[in-house]
């Protein structure tokens, strides 16, 4: 089951890399970012984490990993982070919400839509977290250099 999930997340992230025309040398790294994100996403619920928390943590992991890869391979980090969050997309929640609205279950629909929005927000916050950490690191390095020069 785990192997299947890992393989599927790797395949779908790699396919998204192709869809976004990423450079050939970063294509596998993007797929790997998606796979690691999915691994964290499926591992955390076993420790008792809820969907929101595990989405937040795995999106942060994907974002940090793409920042690291972007420094290592000297390419923009968008190459990895966009494909990396694909396995975390709350597709079934969004679908269930639309289904509830169509079936005149407005309360259920709004509940599910709110959940979808929260999961999307968790992905966004995770992405922001990775960017912020890199910015702090860059800022610290820059400040260090400046004090040396003065």
């Amino acid at each position: 089951m785990l192997i299947k999930g890992l393989a599927l997340s790797l395949i779908s992230s790699t396919a998204w890399c192709i869809l976004f025309n990423v450079p050939v040398r970063t294509i596998l790294a993007g797929g790997m970012a998606g796979m690691v994100g999915w691994l964290v996403f499926s591992f955390l619920p076993m420790l008792g984490a809820e969907v929101l928390l595990s989405t937040l943590v795995s999106a942060s992991v994907v974002s940090l990993l793409s920042q690291l890869l972007s420094v290592l391979l000297r390419v923009p980090s968008t190459n990895f982070s966009v494909a990396g969050v694909i396995p975390l997309v709350p597709g079934s929640l969004a679908y269930k919400s639309m289904l509830a609205f169509v079936n005149n279950d407005y309360v259920g629909g709004i509940t599910l839509a709110t959940q979808t929005l929260l999961v999307a927000g968790a992905i966004a916050s995770g992405l922001i977290f990775g960017i912020s950490v890199l910015t702090i690191w860059k800022g610290a390095r820059y400040a260090g250099k400046r004090t040396q020069r003065d």
Binding site: S9, V22, T78, G91, Y95, A124, S132
Partner: protein, 249 residues
Amino acid sequence: MSADLVMDTCLLAGTMILKSGGETYRTEETMTRIAQAAGMDDVNSSATPTSVILSFRCQGQDHTRMVRTPKRTTNLNKITLVNDVSRRFVSGGITLSEAYRTLREIDQKKPVYPKWMQHMAAATASGAFSMLAGGTWLDLGPSALAGLTVNLSMEYFERFVHMKFFTEFSAALLGGLVALLFVTFFPQLHMSILIIGAMLPLFPGIAITNSLRDLMAGDLVAGVSRGVEAMLTAVSVAVATAIILWFMR
């Protein structure tokens, strides 16, 4: 160093980044860095998702130009290449005319992956994602086919409908219809899984990521407008899904 060549190089780099789906802060930063490395004073650049403005002072004379970028695609390879050229120029590895020539070559380059490969990638992504969302092996083929329909029809509609959100809506509707047909003829398939897989190629990933990065970089106007773009795409997909589900009732 002539001011015209500096202006041309900066604007070419900037518009290429913006056209290929790059962030606006990256556009502004690249143009500013190139102009400053070329020895221009008082460099100011401003970019929104649809336009680029650059102004600088060269030997006591002001130069300003603005370029519109109405048509945008997603080509991260181009952004990476332009980034590379600007980095090499700023660090002094190549001259300005070399940088300009390289940028022109990059501009003429075709996408790394041919069209058929992108469509196959969309189908693969849809199939794999539908299985990830809890589908069985049976759902794999139909959802890949639905995803392929979405991507193909989006490319086809784009030729004569110059309205992004209507194109996405029609593509989602067609993909949903394919899923609906499959479920009607083969009741053992899962409608939810097929729809989730089919809509995946329309997920506005690049718009969301760019919106966040622009907001984080302090580019509030660009960030908000990209966010609205992502939201409108999501809404058009949701409405198309609702129409398909309404047929199912």
